[in-house]
């Protein structure tokens, strides 16, 4: 393919901030030069190269601190107005390797609640930045509300069970929870961002260092995709965390969801766009019915079109969400009911779009889509994994309930 994806997946140019284009281009460059153009090598020596390329992105290019205020070494992108730019950056990362994006997105989304205007929490940033934004990659995993267990009554976040709890005393906070399933690499995490319920059953967020006493990690879990990071269940046996490590601000959980939806959407769409490039080249050279060019066959062309359409629409929707977040000031911020609802809604639909693109395209590619050598199946597994994590539990029903609650003023669901 001898053109840039942006020449075909068009969008109104004014929808990305002019001054962000340079950084987006740098990340795109990294993706293409370091990984996309060297897929085979990257596949063969995945473990080593993953770590190497990731460090380059996080530190040489500086992605690690993207969310931080300038004061803490960030770019000053710590306002919701940067949402379209953030989306675009994570899309470029997703083209190269979804796991790199996934880990960075979780870190950014969790930190956003204390680093973003107007909710900057300097006392906590002062604690966390030196420890978790050093020269070696530090990983964050988030424990979101999710499935509950039969006959165990739990506090709820919009229907989802909050399985961890926190007791606050003057001395500090104590986090308790058993066999919690993180989103992200629980086995690799240096810091856990834990949604927990306080005494009043209200959700709040505790940051828990992985070396805290009483924190136990379970055995590594074999998962469908995102295989460069390893997940494990985590238990908190009366884990003490210092006072500033607990964030009790209203809507902070909603904000994490909003950012996760936006950034995960970017990653999955990036992976899907890279898939489009692979598919373009594949379809260009195949024949069908004893000689016709496969891509000129109308049925194959219509499948090719499906792929392009799913991605194009989802990308426009993602940018729409980014602008809604960017202009969320008069709605009550990124965690307000309307913005939260749209983030869940569009986030879920971006994942579906990206996955549909892969699913349809793979049907065309047959075994080439299924063999590891074409790198397609990795994108497919990675996107599915991101989607399942984002779903949390019950497929998109919790999101549907969020939508219905907002649009129809429900009280009970």
């Amino acid at each position: 393919m001898n053109k840039k994806p942006d020449d075909v997946f068009i969008y109104p140019k004014t929808w990305i901030n002019e001054d962000a284009r340079g950084f987006v281009a740098t990340v795109e460059d990294w993706a293409r030069k370091e990984i996309i153009s060297k897929r085979l090598e990257y596949h063969k020596e995945y473990k080593r190269l993953f770590a190497e390329k990731r460090k380059k992105l996080l530190f040489d290019i500086g992605l690690d601190k993207i969310i931080l205020p300038e004061k803490y070494g960030g770019f000053g992108w710590n306002t919701p107005g940067r949402a379209p730019d953030m989306f675009s950056v994570f899309l470029e990362i997703g083209k190269a390797d979804a796991t790199i994006g996934f880990m960075a997105a979780i870190k950014s989304a969790c930190l956003a609640i204390i680093a973003m205007e107007p909710g900057i929490d300097e006392s906590l940033l002062d604690e966390l930045v030196p420890k978790y934004f050093s020269e070696e990659p530090k990983n964050v995993a988030v424990i979101l509300p999710g499935p509950g267990i039969l006959n165990v009554e739990t506090p709820l976040f919009m229907g989802r069970s909050i399985m961890a709890s926190v007791k606050s005393t003057k001395a500090g906070n104590t986090v308790v929870g058993k066999d919690l399933r993180p989103t992200g690499g629980g086995a690799d995490a240096d810091l856990f961002c834990v949604v927990c319920a306080d005494k009043a059953k209200k959700p709040c967020i505790a940051f828990v260092p992985s070396d805290a006493k009483g924190l136990k990690k379970g055995k590594p879990i074999k998962e469908t995709g995102l295989n460069a990071c390893t997940n494990a269940d985590v238990s908190f046996e009366e884990v003490k965390v210092p006072k500033p490590y607990l964030v009790k601000r209203d809507n902070a959980v909603q904000e994490i969801y909003a950012w996760l939806n936006l950034l995960f959407g970017g990653i999955s769409l990036g992976a899907a766009i890279n898939f489009y490039e692979i598919l373009y080249d594949w379809a260009d050279t195949r024949t069908i019915k004893g000689g016709g060019r496969l891509k000129e066959n109308p049925l194959c062309a219509s499948v090719l079109a499906d792929v392009a359409e799913e991605i194009s629409s989802a990308r426009l929707l993602g940018l729409g969400l980014a602008h809604i977040m960017a202009q969320s000031g008069d709605k009550g911020g990124v965690g307000s009911p309307s913005v939260y609802t749209f983030a869940q809604m569009i986030g879920s639909s971006m994942q579906k779009g990206a996955l549909a693109a892969l699913n349809h395209g793979m049907e065309l590619m047959g075994s080439a889509g299924y063999a590891k050598e074409w790198h397609v199946e990795k994108h497919w597994r990675d996107i599915k994994t991101i989607q399942a994590y984002l779903a949390g539990v019950g497929s998109d029903i919790p999101v549907k309930m969020d939508i219905a609650r907002f649009f129809y003023d429900l009280k009970e669901v």
Partner: protein, 427 residues
């Protein structure tokens, strides 16, 4: 509903023999295969765990299914002259697919090429006798492979009705009383060193679209000139090995051709496509039955809004759709197997008729698309646990995608069905 086995079956179609056989097979699968299946993925290259299990299903110290098609006269079960061939194939695929569809395909593909020489009225007695000892007298699993796909053409080989073998580049030349075969095939199940016997669609006249020039030739894997590549790394289906395979001046006796001009194409159309479809459907439905079992457990023990997932009306709608689809697919799978088993009845149709090929293609596509959708949905219902191998659904999700793609893929299914339904000329 008390068990996955209550999903609808056309009761009138199910023979007592099949019922009994299912129970024997199910016992073995549940006791020996299911406990190990979560470790198959890491065993994809070596098959250390997998190989002994195949011996149990296929070899003489186990169930001995690999001899099932051979006539009783040569030591087999005589399934080749049974009126329940389709029903048996479907039942075996469903039972084994419930545990692992990769495992099921490796086992069933062994029977696949043998169909062309062991089923009435196309029994090739000379070959039946010649190959019987290999399959009927072995304690170990013995595999066969059906080497169709070639590098250039995607689904073109399977598209026999339209292209009539015109695009086959693997050649067979008769020299004296030997066939000399040259060519390159991709992806056959049970390659990568597994199969002992291969069936190879060749052309005796490159570029010809005369069915007489289509030759289906059996090649023992250890024949000189046969080279198998390393097994491919794939997204799933670890129990099924695939590789490239090259034939360089491979020589086999002239009677290793399945039948002869015309008949080879005919038996390919009759058995390979329709029974391939029925087997695929069985595997898919088997996997779906297991999906139901695992999902049932999850939705009964995990909660949303502090109530079991299954008691939430909206989630009930989703999981009800999944179960409802399984119910529909199982009926359709049985109907497809009955389309096969009606072949000798006055109201039945020949297996190589456009009707049988078109309808079974469509049914396979229907079930495959439904399964792909429902497995994806089920993973999402499990959410953070959906991607965890311990819940088994994600493995099936990776595996069954392959079933949707194989045998010429979804598009060929669509075309062959549409050709029949609308009498198209050029599809």
């Amino acid at each position: 509903m008390n068990s996955f086995d209550e999903f609808s079956r056309p009761e009138e179609y199910v023979s007592p023999g099949i019922k009994h056989f299912r129970m024997v097979l199910r016992n073995l699968i549940e006791k020996e295969v299911m406990p190990l299946r979560r470790r198959f993925d890491e065993d994809w290259d070596e098959h250390k765990l997998i190989e002994p299990l195949f011996d149990r299903i296929m070899g003489n110290k186990g169930l001995g299914t690999q001899k099932s098609l051979f006539p009783e006269e040569v030591g087999g079960w005589g399934l080749g002259h049974s009126d329940h061939l389709g029903g048996f194939a479907y039942a075996m695929a469903e039972e084994v697919g419930r545990a692992d569809t990769g495992f099921a395909v490796a086992f069933l593909v062994t029977l696949w090429p043998l169909l062309t020489i062991l089923v009435e009225p196309h029994v090739n007695w000379r070959l039946a006798r010649e190959f019987a000892p290999m399959f009927c007298n072995s304690d170990k699993a013995v595999f066969a492979a059906m080497c169709m796909t070639e590098p250039q053409g995607g689904a073109d080989i399977e598209n026999l009705e339209l292209l009539k073998g015109k695009t086959i580049r693997t050649t067979a030349r008769l020299e004296g009383n030997e066939w000399v075969i040259n060519g390159h095939k991709l992806w056959p199940t049970n390659t990568g060193g597994v199969a002992d016997l291969m069936a190879v669609p060749c052309t005796t006249k490159p570029g010809s679209d005369n069915p007489d020039d289509y030759a289906l030739i059996f090649v023992p894997a250890d024949t000189k000139g046969v080279t198998q590549g390393r097994p491919y790394e794939k997204a799933g289906m670890a129990a099924d090995k695939n590789s490239d395979i090259w034939f360089e001046d491979v020589r086999v006796p002239s009677w290793y051709r399945a039948h002869g001009p015309g008949t080879d194409a005919k038996v390919f159309m009759k058995f390979i496509i329709p029974l391939g479809n029925v087997g695929s459907m069985g595997m898919l439905v088997g996997a779906m039955l297991n999906l139901y079992e695992r999902l049932y457990e999850f939705v009964s023990t995990r909660t949303y809004n502090n109530r079991p997932l299954k008691e939430n009306d909206a989630i009930a709608g989703l999981i009800g759709k999944i179960a409802g689809d399984i119910d529909v697919c199982r009926v359709i799978g049985h109907e497809a197997s009955m389309i096969i088993d009606r072949r000798n009845k006055p109201y039945g149709k020949p297996l190589d008729s456009p009707e049988v090929i078109g309808k079974t293609r469509n049914m396979k596509k229907f079930i495959a698309d439904t399964a792909v959708e429902d497995f994806g949905l089920a993973m999402d219902v499990l959410g953070v646990y959906g991607v965890d191998r311990d819940w088994d659904i994600e493995k099936h999700w990776r595996d069954i995608k392959m079933i949707q793609l194989w045998m010429g893929g979804k598009q060929l299914c669509q075309m062959e069905a549409t050709r029949y339904f609308y009498n198209c000329k050029t599809l």
